[in-house]
Every structure is written in structure tokens, then in C-alpha cells.
């Protein structure tokens, strides 16, 4: 019985690698069953299960929240997403990043004020110290 190598990886960790008889995943255009010596194929995955049938007839299940399935005649690679992705979610994340930058730029004055206040404080302290020293010198 021939087998096909299967790698399931996500950006944050390696999830599975080993030999399989068949890999079943939910592609964007429908369920896919990949057997050894499948033609080269690449597709996006829908959120769902990836089933890996191992050599002994045993089956393993992995949940992926989307990703990419790449098929080469002897290797199947599943690049799984770790985050839940959707167009509008991505948009809102991008908007948040922009807002954050604008907020940082808007706070510019605050930081300036803090720096200014610190400079003034240091100056006042130096003056006080000088006065103190002068007073002591006069006493003696």
C-alpha cells in the first residue's frame, strides 16, 4: 500500500507530520480526498476538519480555522491558520492599527509636556540646591 507524506503546520507550531494513506480536507470548492500520486493542486481551506488516515487504518482529526492545502505527487502540505480570519475581521484589525498610530501621533503634545515639565522640575531643584548651599555658606 503506497503512502503520501503529510505535513500540517501553523505559523506558531508544527501540528503533524508523518505518512498517510489518504488526507481529507474541506477545500473552498468542496471536500477533497487526497490519495498518493494526486496531481499538483493548491487550494484555500474552509474552517473545518482535516482527517488524516494513517497507514494502520487509524484516523487522526485536526481542526483548522482556514489555511492553504498544497498537493505535490508525494507530499501534502497543510498551512493552517491559527487565527480566525474573515475579510471584515481583517479590515477591523487594520482599522485598529491605524487608529492606534493616530492616537500615538495625537499624544505627541502630552509627551512633550511631560518632558518640558521634567526639565523645569530639574531646573527648580538645581536652584533650590544652590540656594541651600549659599545659605549654609553664609551661616558659617
Amino acid at each position: 500500500m503506497s503512502t503520501i507524506r503529510c505535513d500540517i503546520v501553523s505559523a506558531e507550531e508544527e501540528i503533524f507530520h508523518g505518512n498517510a494513506q489518504m488526507i481529507i480536507a474541506t477545500g473552498e470548492a468542496g471536500e477533497l480526498g487526497i490519495a498518493p500520486r494526486h496531481a499538483p493542486l493548491i487550494t484555500r481551506l474552509k474552517p473545518g476538519q482535516v482527517r488524516v488516515q494513517l497507514e494502520g487504518g487509524e484516523e487522526q482529526f485536526f481542526y483548522v480555522s482556514g489555511g492553504i492545502l498544497e498537493v505535490q505527487p508525494s507530499v501534502v502540505t497543510v498551512l493552517a491558520d491559527t487565527a480566525i480570519r474573515a475579510k471584515d475581521l481583517d479590515e477591523s484589525a487594520a482599522r485598529k492599527a491605524k487608529d492606534e498610530a493616530e492616537r500615538a501621533l495625537a499624544n505627541r503634545t502630552d509627551a512633550m509636556e511631560v518632558a518640558q515639565a521634567q526639565a523645569q522640575l530639574a531646573q527648580a531643584l538645581a536652584q533650590l540646591q544652590a540656594l541651600e548651599r549659599l545659605r549654609r555658606a553664609l551661616k558659617h
Binding site: D7, A29, I42, A101, A104
Partner: protein, 287 residues
């Protein structure tokens, strides 16, 4: 013995500082390991990604994605700047910013504008004081950065690139060489450098489901994201390594300072005693 008391309080305060720097040093030493593990864990994905991209470059002939095409004129470039959230890590951020500011000046001299997105508080604070266009920022990634936290800033830049506002995209981060060495690095993200795209044409092509354009867009976006994520992890490991080294130096300096202060203190004490004795003796002689 007013002088002696002042010295004693000074010694106490240096000792307290040393306690803090020691603690920080040990915390960073343990966090380096975790950061390195994270780096290792994310490598298989990057490797698999590179293979897939390589295959695509081999296979696909009829469609060229904009991420792979070098643009002729460059009017505006983008930088993704990765920095730390916290300070006390030696010259780590400063060195990288200096390198980056040099690059930015060079672009500006050529009449090219620069857009930035900042990851980490230090970059955000630094670049808001400069005359650059900051279009996105994310801070407080924590000890276990997740790709979900980075999607926003990356999308901002990819959208700019896709819309043709940005013609080139770079990633700036500190490369973790080893505990003693971190290297400020600027890599080109877009268009993908030709090294990743081995230009030998093949006769076969993938079956694309549903279509080549959509799939390629998806793959390349994920690839860029994984590169940025790797940069963030490298930077995290660099941060802890740099902090450990800086704090070790600080602790050593504190020990040295305590030594010399103790010497001064003992001398002052000795002088006071001597003076007292000579005063008593003088007094007794007068009687």
C-alpha cells in the same frame, strides 16, 4: 559623622539598585529560552511556506501576481519596524533606529517618501517625533506574540502596496544571532526578492481551486505575515538577550560602585575616630 551617614545611604541605594538589576537579569535569562523555543516552533511553517512559494514560481506561467513584480519607479516605500515594548535592553532599539533613520534619510534625499508601521512601543514613541508618515501601529504583544495581533498592521501595508501607494516594503528587526550578538536587520518583503522565486520554467502547473489569482493572493499574504511574525519572534529573543547582558553589566558596575563607596566610608570613619582621639589627647594635655 554627617558625611559618613550620607555615604551609608548612598551605599544602601546602590545595593537596592543592584537587587533590581540582578532580578531583571535572571528573569531575562529564563525568558530567552522560551523565546528561542517559539522561534523554533514557527520554523516549519516558514519552511513549508517557502517550498510552496518556490513551487508556485516554478509552476505558474500565465499569471503574475503584483507582489512578485518589480516596479519601475519608486515614489514611496514602506517599512514595518519591529521594536520592543520596554526599555532597559541596552542599545538594542537605538542601534536599529539609527540604521533605519540613515536608510530613511537616504530615501528622502532621493525624493522618495516613507511610510511606517510600528510594532512595539519603543518604535511608536521614537518615530512619532520624526518627520515620517506613520500609518499603523501595534503595541503590547506580550511574551507570546500571536499572528492575530499582527494582522492589522500588515494589512495596512499590504493594502497600501496593492493600491500602488507604496512601491517597496521592508521589514526592520533585530536578528538574534546568539546571546551576545543581535544584528539590526532590514529585509525586503515586497516585491519578493528573486531568491525566493527560482526562475526556471516548468511545464506543469497546479490545479487552482477556485482560481489562480485568489489562491496566490492568499498564499503570498500568508507568506508576508509569517515573515513579519518571524521577525517579531527574533526581536523578542534579541530583546531578552540584550536585556540580560545590559543588566549583567549594570549589576557588575553596582558591585564596583559599592566597593569604592565602602572604601570611602571606612576612610571617613577612620578619620573621624582619629580626629576625636587627637581632640581628647589635646584636651587632656591642656589640662
Amino acid at each position: 559623622m554627617a558625611g559618613a551617614r550620607e555615604i551609608r545611604t548612598k551605599i544602601k541605594s546602590v545595593q537596592n539598585t543592584r537587587k533590581v538589576t540582578r532580578a531583571l537579569e535572571m528573569v531575562s535569562a529564563s525568558k530567552i529560552r522560551k523565546a528561542q523555543d517559539l522561534m523554533k516552533a514557527s520554523r516549519p511553517y516558514a519552511r513549508a511556506m517557502r517550498q510552496v512559494i518556490g513551487h508556485i514560481a516554478h509552476a505558474n506561467v500565465e499569471y503574475k501576481h503584483p507582489f512578485l513584480v518589480e516596479r519601475e519607479t519608486i515614489q514611496r516605500v514602506g517599512y514595518v519596524v519591529v521594536s520592543t515594548d520596554r526599555g532597559l535592553c541596552g542599545g538594542l532599539n537605538t542601534n536599529m533606529f539609527r540604521k533605519l533613520v540613515g536608510d530613511i534619510r537616504a530615501w528622502q534625499d532621493k525624493g522618495v517618501e516613507v511610510d511606517l508601521v510600528c510594532i512595539g512601543q519603543k518604535a511608536t514613541q521614537f518615530f512619532r517625533r520624526l518627520k515620517v508618515n506613520m500609518v499603523g501601529s501595534v503595541t503590547h504583544l506580550g511574551e507570546r506574540p500571536q499572528i492575530a495581533q499582527l494582522i492589522g498592521v500588515i494589512k495596512v501595508m499590504l493594502d497600501e502596496y496593492g493600491a500602488g501607494r507604496v512601491d517597496r516594503l521592508f521589514l526592520a528587526y533585530n536578528d538574534f544571532v546568539n546571546t551576545m550578538t543581535q544584528k539590526a536587520t532590514v529585509d525586503q518583503l515586497l516585491p519578493l526578492p528573486p531568491a525566493a522565486e527560482m526562475a526556471t520554467s516548468h511545464s506543469w502547473d497546479y490545479i487552482y481551486e477556485p482560481d489562480a489569482e485568489g489562491v496566490l493572493e492568499h498564499v503570498l499574504t500568508r507568506y508576508i505575515e509569517s515573515l513579519v511574525y518571524q521577525g517579531v519572534l527574533e526581536n523578542l529573543a534579541s530583546e531578552h538577550a540584550a536585556r540580560m547582558v545590559a543588566m549583567k553589566a549594570a549589576s557588575d558596575n553596582a558591585t564596583k560602585a559599592i566597593g569604592s563607596l565602602t572604601l570611602v566610608y571606612n576612610k571617613a570613619r577612620q578619620a573621624a575616630i582619629t580626629q576625636e582621639i587627637s581632640e581628647i589627647v589635646g584636651g587632656a594635655a591642656a589640662v
